[in-house]
């Protein structure tokens, strides 16, 4: 009976993890890979791995960084094997509300340029930016996910943001 109840609790916990973090993990994977189908597969794989290792998850900590760690590792492995695949820049970035069609066009173009600028970043800068701005992780959580020193995370974040801006300016001429 204890096992069964434990099983039900784990199931509930897992369901909650999906409800709360699935979209965020999907966004992370989308920014890593630039491909919707791959991002969806990687999100699913993240949760399958999480489910298998649910017993080892420390419930006193939030699940977000733990899931991000799994997702980041999977995405990194995926990138290592699929470097040649093109990045899809035309996905749904969070665009502010605009009124006219011209404004909308310009905004979409800028969003695409921003993704192109991100894609040009070396992976170690790109992932810090993605974890911070897409995964909304704190410095400490990024350190935990990437197993890096705090000073290195701060530096990469700064350098990454700077390079992103420079890449975008270069792209926009």
């Amino acid at each position: 009976v204890e096992n069964r109840n434990g099983g039900v609790k784990l199931q509930e916990l897992f369901h909650e993890m999906v409800e709360t973090y699935a979209d965020k993990i999907y966004h992370l994977a989308l920014r890593y890979t630039g491909d919707r189908t791959q991002a969806e597969d990687l999100t699913q794989e993240t949760y399958l791995r999480a489910y298998k290792n649910l017993a080892s998850y420390d419930r006193s900590k939030p699940a977000g960084p733990w899931l991000c760690t799994i997702a980041a590792n999977l995405c990194r492995n995926w990138l290592r094997d699929h470097r040649e695949l093109p990045f899809d820049f035309s996905d749904e970035t969070s665009l502010p509300q605009v009124t006219g069609p011209e404004e909308l066009y310009l905004q979409k173009e800028r969003a695409e340029n921003l993704l192109a600028a991100l894609e040009k970043l070396p992976l170690n800068y790109r992932e810090v930016l993605v974890l911070r701005h897409v995964g909304e992780l704190s410095y400490a959580e990024i350190c935990e996910v990437l197993d890096l020193e705090l000073s290195l995370v701060k530096n990469r974040l700064y350098r990454g943001r700077l390079m992103l801006k420079e890449n975008l300016l270069r792209k926009e001429g």
Binding site: H15, V18, Y47, T93, V134, Y158
Partner: protein
């Protein structure tokens, strides 16, 4: 604060990772640091554009749940197969089956099978019904096989 903070400290302030009051006071008074704060803020705002609005398919959880749930064991199908096996064996062994059963005196050996069945019943309280039915099917098959073999041997010796 007697000296200007470095750019990483200002960045941490923008990111909400730093809230030193002395640092805030310094920013109010120092033009160079305010300028750096503005430049860094524009970089952070730019990177915030990486946020994403894309949604996972609505059936994502159910699709994953299906992957996580093992395929249900076809209990009804196996039960039906056992029943058919028993009926078929009765037909195949013919009407003299029970006479033969009594004449060759193997009833005591069948008790072994009954013992096994009882053990199986005891185990069934610990494991799932699927396993019990599988075990039962295996036992029935084994029993029929043994009976068939014994009948052949005994039948040959008795001139059947």
């Amino acid at each position: 604060m007697d000296h200007c903070p470095d750019y990483l400290t200002i960045q941490a302030l923008i990111d909400g990772e730093e809230n030193d009051q002395a640092l805030l006071k310094h920013l109010q008074d120092c033009f160079a640091c305010r300028l750096q704060y503005r430049q860094l803020s524009s970089m952070v705002k730019l990177a915030d554009g990486l946020k994403c609005e894309a949604k996972l398919p609505a059936n994502f959880y159910h699709a994953m749940e299906r992957k996580l749930t093992p395929a249900p064991f076809p209990t009804a199908l196996v039960s039906l197969a056992v029943l058919l096996l028993v009926l078929a064996s009765l037909l195949l062994l013919g009407p003299t089956y029970f006479e033969w059963w009594l004449s060759v005196g193997i009833t005591s050996q069948v008790s072994l099978v009954l013992d096994a069945l009882l053990d199986l019943f005891a185990i069934s309280r610990l494991v799932s019904s699927s396993w019990v039915i599988s075990g039962l099917a295996a036992l029935v098959t084994m029993e029929l096989f043994i009976l068939k073999m014994l009948k052949n041997v005994e039948g040959w010796q008795n001139g059947w």
